[in-house]
Every structure is written in C-alpha cells, then in structure tokens.
C-alpha cells in the first residue's frame, strides 16, 4: 500500500479536525487549571500533618495514580450519571474525569514542590511571626509554584497528549477528527501519519516554550 497525501486540504482540516482540536485544547486548559487548584488543595491536605486530612488525600491520589486513565474515563462515564442523578454528555464527562484525574498528579507535583523549599525558608517565615497560612501564601507557595512551573507545564503537555484517550467514550477530540476524516475518505493510514505530525508539532513547540519560560522564571539563588 502506498502513501498518498494529496487529499489533504484546509477544507478537510477545518471541517473534521478543527472542532476536535478546540475540544482537546479546552479539555487541556480546564483540566490544568482545575487540576492545579484541586491538586494544591490535596497537596496541602497531604502535608497538613493531620491524619484525617492526610489519609483520604493519600488514598485518593494513590488510587488515581495506579489506574489507567482509560479505565478512569470509562468509570466516570459509567458512574457520573448515577452520582449526579442526571445524564451528562461525553464531553462534560471527559472534563470532569480529567480534572479529577489530573488533580492527583498535580498534587504530587505540588507536594514535591513544597517539599523542595528548604526547611530554613519555612523556619525563617515562622521566625518572623507569620502564621501557617501566611507562611504558605506569602513564602512557600509562591516559590513552590515558580520552581514547579516547568514540571507543571510538562505535565500539561502530557495531559494534552492524554486527551487522545477520550476516544473510549466517543468524545470528539483532535485524534478523533483525524480518524473520522480518514475513514470518510478511505485514507486512514495517511491520517494517522498526519495526526502524529500535528501532535508532534504542537507538543514540541510547547516543550520549547517551557524551556524558555524555565529560564525566565528561575529564581536566582
């Protein structure tokens, strides 16, 4: 079988791939923002020193981290309507799943970020009379976030790649767009190749961007 790329056109990309790409990006952005928010909360719970907060947070995080994302997606899709008591679509289900799933990963990133702040910094804040929450807010989290930006962004790139797994519940993401185009035009092999190239271009440029940012925000110690 030979490869024939002649049928690619802007029209094809626009009508099949674009809406998928928009959804992939939407999903990535929402899951990143939501994941960082809940992940930070989970991280604070895990570091709180209070058993009642620590154990549930740790259990949640470890469970999420040991199940394949595809299974989590299927689970949520199956269970969400039962939990919420009302039906939701594949797209919304995917968004909720990704936020919940990514929170576990962002939690671990934030936790190691917070732990990477030297103990001396924590002591210094306390020694000036700051309360726990002041210390967290003003001293630790700003530094932890800054140190973690490259890792957070790298995780976001992984997340963007993982959005391709929503095929399991039939949500229409970018890969799906390519697949449908390929099927309708009888060119599946070519479209997989095109999908690989587009994903690579997006993720590679993002990872370059991370590099640049990394140098910009690095705190001089």
């Amino acid at each position: 079988m030979n490869i024939d790329l002649s049928f690619y056109s802007w029209e094809l990309i626009r009508s099949y791939v674009l809406s998928g790409l928009v959804f992939s990006i939407q999903l990535t952005v929402i899951a990143t923002v939501g994941g960082i928010f809940f992940g930070t909360l989970l991280a604070l719970m895990r570091l709180s020193g209070n058993k009642w907060l620590e154990i549930p947070a740790a259990t949640y995080v470890n469970t999420m981290r040991s199940i394949p994302l595809v299974m989590v997606i299927l689970w949520f899709f199956l269970l969400m309507p039962a939990i919420l008591g009302k039906p939701i679509g594949a797209e919304l289900s995917a968004i909720i799943t990704f936020v919940a799933f990514e929170a576990a990963f962002f939690c671990e990133i934030m936790r190691s970020g917070i732990q990477s702040i030297p103990r001396g910094q924590i002591h210094a804040g306390q020694a000036m009379g700051m309360t726990y929450s002041q210390n967290m807010r003003l001293i630790i989290l700003p530094q932890a976030f800054r140190n973690m930006i490259p890792v957070l962004l790298t995780q976001t790139i992984i997340l963007f790649q993982d959005t391709s797994l929503v095929y399991a519940i039939g949500a229409y993401d970018m890969l799906k767009g390519f697949e449908v185009a390929g099927k309708n035009f009888g060119r599946p092999i070519e479209t997989y190749l095109a999908a690989a190239v587009i994903y690579f271009l997006i993720c590679f440029s993002l990872s370059r961007l991370v590099r640049v940012l990394q140098q910009r925000v690095a705190i001089i110690r």
Partner: protein
Amino acid sequence: DTLAKIKSSSAVTMGVRESSGALSYTVGDGKFAGYHVEICQRVLGDVQKQLKLNKLDIKYQAVTSQNRLPLVANGTVDIECGSTTNNATRQKDVAFAVTTYVEEVRIAVKANSGITSLNQLAGKKVATTTGTTSVQLLRKHERAANVNFDEVFGKDHADSFLLLESGRADAFVMDGSILAGNIANAKNPADFKIVGEVIAVEPIAIMIRKDDPAFKKSVDDSIKKMMKDGTLAKLWDKWFLQPIPPKGNKVGLALSASTKDAWANPNDKPAEDYAKK
C-alpha cells in the same frame, strides 16, 4: 418519563454513531446523517407535534458500541439511532422500537481472495469489532462447527475494515450494511466483495429507555406510520441506493426480504426469535 422530560426541557438527546455505515455516521463538523438518523429526526418531529412544542432542540451525542447501552439506560441518551441489535440480553436494560431494519451478518473479503464461505475461514484471520455481538457470534460458530478462527479486533468498524484492507485480516465478519458502507467508502470499492451465507439475522432497531411505554408508543406509532405510507421505502432508496454525502458514494444495498417482512409486520422481537425460525 421521557415525554415529560422532552416537554419540560424542549430538548432531546439523540445517540448517533460516527461510522455505522449508512445507518448512522458523521459528515464532519459535528453533523450526523444516515437512515436511522433521518428516521429518528422524523420520529422526533412527530413527538414535537404530539407534545405541541413550537421548538425542539435535538442534541446529538456520539456513542460507541461499548457505551451506547449504559448511556441509554442511565438517561444520557433519550433515543439511540445507530445500529443496535435488538436482543434478549439488552432487553433487560433497555427497550427497542419496532424493527426498522433487519441486518444480515455476512463476510467481507478481498475480491481476489477466492473465499466464498465461512467454512473456508478456518485457521484464517477474521476481523470483527470489539464490543459487538459478532464477537460472540464468531465464538459460538467456532464451537458449533468445531473450527478455529484467528480473531483480530478493531476498536471500531472502520478500524476492522482497515485490518481487512491492509491485509492483516482475511475477512471481516459484520453486519451487511456496515460492510457495504465501508466498502463504498474504500479507496477502491471494487477490491472488496460481500460473500457467503447469511451467518445470522438480527433485527436492528432504535433504542430507548426501558419501562417508558408512553414514549415507546409515540416512537412506534410514528415508525409504523412511515412503514405504511412508504416513507421508509423512500428513505431506504435515499440512503442505500443513491449517492450519499460526503463523497457521493453509493452503498448499493438492496432491500432484503427480511427487512420487507419486518415492515409488513411491525414487531420488536429480539434476535433470539429470529434465530429460532
């Protein structure tokens, strides 16, 4: 119940498939088309009239073989217009409208392969799609005829067809319409043909929630009306014999005797009853 829900929200969610041949497929851009999709659109038009709604918002929800059942059962999808076999197991969880299409499970092969029947497939690679009844069907046939297939699974029909097209499988066992649709869409439709005996006959129907007799009656009535007044025959011609979007291919699937029979005697009998005949 569904009618009340549709009435109160002025909206309904239609489950559709991305690539179930001419029965239900996407034409890109989040738009869907096909024989069952159009039937459902007409049915919902009747429902709208019945409920006296001046506006009914139809939301399309793409479903897959794996998730369509739970989606209908849990209420995500109100009416599934894809290519779902009506069988006894499923009737435990969902209900079906009267059969609109009778599917014959057949074999697609490369035109030059020389294969003409199921029994020639012993020891060969046979493709089918994960999450469909054909998987079980093949398994049962293997046992009954004491042969052995080397099964390969596509994650959806187009994938399974690709297995055949790329030579990874020698045959693709699936519903005839799906085979025909995929062949029509192939780069060289002449390279493939549908051969052999009818392995199984399956009633394909529109799927709705269980225990909602009012909604079922509305749907059934609307379909029965279309059966009588010849609308279904026209739709058959439109989707299976004439060129269809997006590429303008013809599926070329003539109306089968069993489908005609189902139109003449509207029923929602499960596949098991067909098998007994």
